[in-house]
Symmetry: C2
Subunit: 417 residues, 2 copies
């Protein structure tokens, strides 16, 4: 593998959204020798001027600060736009950016409507400009090792994948009205699989979603909502009786065109351990993120006199089957500051920059973005309808049947040479 991290032509980026996550991307991008953040924008208070000052202090050049996205897009001075705002504004800002002539990288989360998903796809197709979702977990160290093993055939035919977003977020959600965090209104007004993308992104790569496979249906059920209400009563009594709509545990089942099934769990309002609950079941074995356990038929040793085939620790396999991209990255980062989230933030941002530099389609694309985000919309409909399965639109209009793998060193659809 030639070094995919070698600097290329300079890409100038305008950043929309400067909360914690937006600043994370702004720093990561600014630290790349071939990237300049030339414009920053946030409509909350002094975030933009503060960000411009911080970036100047750290990296030497001052991006132009804006408090209005339209103004920033009109003024220009960049080659691409990174959108890291709120769940309900990612897509509408992406559509504006595409219409203004800029390729887009965007954070993703809960989708709002199928109409919006469709609009984003059509705008990208009509403008010929790409949209790449910043789903960092697609580049996770463990996720890419499992992908590697799947692509080597070690799990055989994949029948089922599981995932979840289990993250205790009382403070982030419960104080979101004070801190301008985007999650709160979704928990107060919606009842859905609000955050499927962290686990769905990697699963989509495991089973080739939108490239020879697609999601057919989503059905969801929600438990009652107790955890957040109890927390608010204790910690935010001034809010009075808030009607929390989001069930503490939302479970979804998905079916796929090639016969695989997927389950997802969303759980942010109960005390818990962080977990993306990864799971793969195939004809040759299984993997579970919880407990980091693996069982591979004919490989995992079966102790003498034991009938129940206990699993073995998965960590040595993560090491042994480290993804070639991760190996290359580890060599590279010995000489640079890698950034947060164990490097997967860096990898997803770098994949975007690489695709812009080389004018190739991004390894995660607009079809991926809307398919994953539409799960929220469909799950919301399903919960409202008592668990009725909802059809996933084919946003590719049949192209999924024959689409091949993405190209380039950051593509995840096949193993790099």
């Amino acid at each position: 593998m030639t070094n995919p991290f070698a600097p290329g032509r300079v890409i100038r980026v305008g950043v929309l959204g400067l909360g914690g996550r937006g600043m994370g991307h702004a720093y990561l991008l600014s630290a790349m020798p071939d990237v300049r953040v030339t414009a920053v924008c946030d409509n909350y208070g002094t975030r933009a001027v503060d960000a411009a000052q911080h970036l100047q202090e750290k990296f030497g050049t001052r991006p132009e600060p804006y408090t209005d996205a339209d103004e920033m897009l009109k003024a220009g001075g960049f080659d691409a736009v990174a959108i890291i705002t709120s769940w309900q504004t990612h897509m509408r800002l992406a559509i504006k950016a595409l219409r203004a002539g800029y390729p887009v990288g965007m954070e993703i989360g809960a989708g709002q409507s199928l109409l919006e998903c469709q609009d984003l796809v059509r705008t990208s197709e009509e403008t010929g400009l790409p949209v790449m979702p910043f789903e960092n977990c697609c580049y996770g160290e463990v996720e890419t090792a499992i992908l590697h093993m799947i692509q080597k055939g070690m799990f055989g035919t994949i029948l089922h994948c599981g995932g979840g977003y289990e993250h205790e977020l009382f403070d982030e959600i419960g104080n979101g009205d004070v801190t301008h965090h985007y999650r709160q209104p979704h928990f107060f007004h919606r009842n859905a699989e609000l955050y499927p993308t962290h686990e769905m992104g990697p699963i989509a790569k495991y089973i080739g979603i939108n490239r020879g496979n697609r999601i057919l249906t989503v059905s969801s059920i929600a438990s009652k909502a107790v955890g957040l209400s109890e927390w608010l009563h204790k910690n935010r009594p001034e809010l009075g009786d808030v009607n929390v709509r989001e069930g503490d545990v939302v479970t979804s089942m998905l079916t796929c065109a090639n016969g695989e099934t997927i389950t997802l769990m969303h759980k942010c309002t109960l005390p818990c351990c962080y977990s993306r609950q990864g799971r793969v079941d195939g004809t040759k074995g299984l993997w579970m993120e919880n407990g980091n356990l693996i069982y591979l038929a004919g490989i995992t040793p079966i102790p003498e006199g034991v009938w129940d085939h206990p699993p073995e620790p998965a960590a040595p396999y993560y090491e042994r089957y480290r993804h070639p991209l991760w190996k290359a990255y580890e060599e590279y980062r010995n000489s640079v500051t890698a950034g947060a989230h164990g490097g997967m933030d860096y990898l997803v941002d770098r994949a975007w920059i690489h695709s812009l530099q080389n004018r190739i389609a991004p390894p995660l694309d607009v079809y991926d973005a809307v398919t994953w985000m539409a799960i929220t919309v469909l799950s919301e409909q399903s919960v409202a309808m008592g668990g009725m399965p909802q059809a996933m639109p084919d946003f590719t209009n049949g192209a999924w049947l024959t689409r091949g793998p993405a190209e380039g060193p950051f593509a995840l659809d096949t193993l790099p040479e």
Copy 2:
């Protein structure tokens, strides 16, 4: 707790079904000082006479052997009937036994039809004779410890429970036509959650199903069927192309009247570790059987500088919160041979005998049996209808709203004194 294992009045039992599992019950029951197995029946070959001889050799008295259930029921000479036959005959034989005037204990598994479930309930109600399902896992060492912790409030309000039956059964299913094993035709002709009771029994006790709570809906999806077909091609080529209908992984979602959700996984035709996949999510913490992990807010230590609240090993909690019934049993079994399955087989059989001796309702009853077995029927319908939720009939006709806990030392609905 007074000794629930003290011998009582003698109960004579007729045993219907003498496969491996039937013989297990016959031995367990015969070994009890206050139980006599006086009749045994199986319509396969010489199973009945063989069983009669074996039991005579081991316990001194020879039960009467039958090859016809109707004959055995007509001849009598016992106080109660234990039914351990095949999935598709449990209920019809139970109905016959009730009509012949005998209380019933029966093994359970896949239900066949809602009509049959209803018939069993009505026959029990009309004859005034009880039916107890032999769901041994309700008395499992781990399951009763978790029940104990739930009843002590350690998980807070329960929002979600998970369970599964993950058991590599290629030989049992694939050679079932040769060995007279009951599972095979279900895998060849049905596509359903075929074996929900091992995990659903304990979950039902965790959240009070049929006693102040009930299951409202069941929805299921099935993966494609690959594992068993591949096994048959390799190991049973003489069968030719068998049309395996049962998906390798069948996933179900259940909703409950009190707002809890349940997920179930059925997986018997892929290489895997045995697991009942127990999981409990509450407002104070969570438990996972896979990996034996637990997280209790305010109890589980959070290491310095760690953001993701890792779980801790659950095994010490199983020990510390051992169910009082298990403690009593451990003291008792020091002096006797306990039998297989870690003692839970003994406990469920003893619970049945105790209820007969004391003429009290069994701790697991006919409503439990049909509710759990109906899950198979409803999941089959749901899979056939693309995952549409199916309504669970209220077999209690509204009695669940006010039914209190079962009585006696083997009851699981409240902690024994």
